[in-house]
Symmetry: C2
Subunit: 134 residues, 2 copies
């Protein structure tokens, strides 16, 4: 059975990275690791490690993504919770077998990581991302 490792990150959708860093970095005191454009998410992401997890501030760079719709509808806020596992393929198979509704039935593979999303309908309203470092 695939093992749960930790909360990899909590993703927060924001309209303006610099303004958000005014709170998360300058006021609250998290360290900013780096800011990076992430084309696969159509977003710019600021990575702020905290403990063995991260807060990720995510600004959509197009108008047509789920992130952009979330921002337009809700004005920003917590978007998803990412749980890191040691074997995402095994975990997805377990979840499917248990009747959990998956947004991605197979993991998307990107350099260094594999990821898939679980539908909020199955989690009590939370968009859950599964993540494996490879």
């Amino acid at each position: 059975m695939a093992e749960i490792k930790k909360i990899n990150h909590v993703a927060v959708v924001v309209a303006d990275i610099d303004q958000a860093l005014g709170f998360w970095q300058d006021a609250l005191g998290l360290q900013l690791h780096h800011v990076e454009e992430v084309p696969s998410q159509k977003a710019v992401v600021a990575f702020l490690p905290v403990g063995d997890s991260e807060v990720e501030l995510v600004k959509p760079t197009t108008d047509d993504s789920g992130l952009a719709k979330f921002l337009a509808e809700k004005g920003g806020g917590m978007h998803h919770l990412c749980i890191e596992v040691d074997d995402i393929d095994a975990k997805l198979a377990e979840l499917k077998q248990k009747g959990v509704r998956l947004i991605n039935e197979t993991a998307q593979e990107l350099p260094g990581r594999k990821m898939a999303f679980v539908h909020p309908k199955s989690t009590g309203g939370v968009l859950v991302e599964l993540y494996q470092i490879i």
Copy 2:
């Protein structure tokens, strides 16, 4: 300056603890530490450690709390992000000095912990709880 320690927990408001555990414990595979009535929050809370943080499933026990209103309006989901610090009084003073809007200007003290909430207007839409183990 007060030090940030970790994400203490992510709180998820749910309509039914057992149903939510069907995903978070039985399907996803988090361990359930315990379920407890928390009168100060007017809620029953299931505590599920993951890495050095926790997922907390929170079911309101009355109709008049902020948690109950969140459940009624949104049907559940991620409610707040709790950041643990080593000195909550110092951190609240820093935030206030930097113009951050606080829901609690002084920390509430309960057995073993002190806590205060930061207003989502100052964080990019996230209800942030500050927390100190005492």
